[in-house]
Symmetry: C2
Subunit: 147 residues, 2 copies
DNA sequence: TATTGTTATACTCTATAACTATA
DNA sequence: TATAGTTATAGAGTATAACAATA
């Protein structure tokens, strides 16, 4: 992450967005660190909870990463017994990643920690404003081209 | 910039913020490129318009960059005749950066281009929602610690 | 020929360390 | 001693290229 300065009076929207993203990312990272995972770990565990077992190529696509970038991600999780890898019997090129019971438990705790950080982050807003913020961001994501 | 995937149904706030930031950044960068500058150039030109002449250390602080990172930034702008550097007479360690008339003109156009990109980005929202979004982001920035 | 996973390499953006010149 | 600016170097985080195994 780059830097995170206090904001001047008239700040372009792009800086407001960066500041919000940076600060929530840091708050979440601190919360997740207590459970031994980072944001990418959580993203992978979450993807696996939905659709495991998942080949690495599928996980990479799900996380929006190159398959070469994803390659190292399961290593640490496997060392900690949170995921398992095995060759697919149908297509022996594929490495299927799956959650272990410990992985499911870690995911549950990490998700709680992340949600709590998100809630604390939004605490400065009243409920209506927070809901409007999220709806607006969703709409912007839907309305602008991914690339 | 990392990646920019379409968003799934239930997306954490941090991903919504990243997506919004990524897409507005790209839209702005494309608009600025037509004027031969990037976001950092614009940030420096804007800082200079307010407070020039500014020593590089001051500009670095203003932009939230290390002075070593800022060091190369004025080079390109100087080559294009948009800023000038001169030694401070009072403290000959300081390199004062100042806008040229061409720099002021470029800044005006670049700011217009950026504002237009911002307006296009927000076009998916009605006016009230856009105003609430910006107010909410400001409040979050004010309520969360910079570091 | 094409795809999966791995490794080596490169690129971008940032910071830290070391230097010169000034104070 | 301390600070301003520069350069060299290192570190994250990402991608591209090349490879072996498999389809």
């Amino acid at each position: 992450m780059p830097r995170d300065e206090p904001l001047a009076a008239d700040v372009p929207l792009v800086h407001l967005l960066r500041t919000a993203h940076t600060r929530l990312t840091r708050a979440s990272a601190e919360a997740l660190a207590r459970h031994g995972v980072d944001a990418q770990d959580l993203a992978l565990l979450t993807a696996l909870a939905d659709t495991a077992p998942l080949p690495q190529s599928g996980a990479a696509h799900h996380l929006g990463l190159d398959r070469t970038t994803l390659s190292a991600l399961p290593d640490g999780l496997e060392d900690h017994g949170l995921v398992r890898r095995r060759r697919s019997p149908e297509d022996r090129r594929r490495n299927l990643i799956d959650l272990t019971p410990a992985g499911r438990e870690c995911l549950r705790r990490a998700q709680d920690a992340h949600r709590a950080a998100e809630t604390r982050f939004l605490a400065a807003l009243d409920e209506d404003t927070a809901a409007t913020l999220i709806r607006a961001l969703r709409r912007l994501a839907a309305a602008t081209p991914p690339h």
